[in-house]
């Protein structure tokens, strides 16, 4: 399964990069993918996630071909 993972705002700085592309053998949750890609960085308590540009829980399963994004609480307006 191929997944594109994107990081925004302060989480881009935490991760040290703006995106990853990974291949996984079985479905993983958003939280598990964060742990897999950032083993030495605990996910911030306030971290939000989106799959294919819609908000999801960190426990949501990520499907093949999805775009997963991690970001902090939003501060627009």
């Amino acid at each position: 399964m191929s997944i594109r993972v994107r990081y925004f705002a302060s989480l881009k700085e935490t991760a040290g990069r703006s995106e990853d592309r990974i291949q996984i053998q079985e479905p993983l949750t958003a939280r598990e993918i964060w742990r897999l890609l950032n083993p030495d960085k605990a996910a911030p308590e306030t971290m939000l996630a989106a799959i294919n540009m819609e908000y999801v829980s960190l426990d949501a399963l990520v499907s093949d071909g999805a775009e997963l994004a991690f970001f902090p609480p939003v501060t627009g307006g």
Binding site: F8, A9, S10, F71, V74
Partner: protein, 148 residues
């Protein structure tokens, strides 16, 4: 409904005048227009702020703004809605956001505009990074409450 992200300064009153003039949907039909503009301050949390960068998530930001506007227009009787939001580098006194709702009567225009603005503050993927007068940069961690 129109959702517009702008890299260049927004001139809200010119934009509104042009939008109303060009809208065949609104001509003769609306009795109320409620407008909100949000503007960048030169201070925050006790510090002088010199400039700011507004990051967004291209594609998701527009999609979430569309969801928010549609929800407001479903919940209240709104004829049309305009949302404009700056992205990229901004300076104090720049208009950051414009929300306008047109309705037959004022109640729907007031309430829908307020709902859209408050929901935008918590749901639309934008992130502010401030540059202070000292040269230090910092991410704004959360928005202020709408009622204080």
């Amino acid at each position: 409904m129109s959702i517009i992200l702008c890299e260049q300064p927004i001139e809200p009153w010119k934009e509104l005048e042009a939008y109303q003039k060009n809208s065949t949907l609104l001509k003769g039909k609306y009795g109320a227009c409620n407008i909100f503009t949000g503007v960048m301050r030169d201070f925050n949390q006790g510090d002088t702020v010199e400039s700011m960068y507004l990051e967004h998530y291209p594609g998701m930001t527009e999609l979430q703004l569309k969801h928010i506007a549609e929800q407001g227009m479903r919940q209240w009787s709104v004829l049309d809605c305009l949302i404009m939001h700056r992205v990229g580098a901004v300076a104090p006194n720049d208009t950051l956001v414009l929300v306008a709702c047109w309705a037959v009567h004022r109640g729907d225009a007031f309430d829908a505009c307020r709902f859209i603005m408050e929901t935008l503050k918590t749901q639309a993927p934008f992130w502010k990074k401030e540059t202070l007068a000292t040269g230090r940069t910092r991410w704004v961690e959360k928005n202020s409450e709408g009622y204080q």
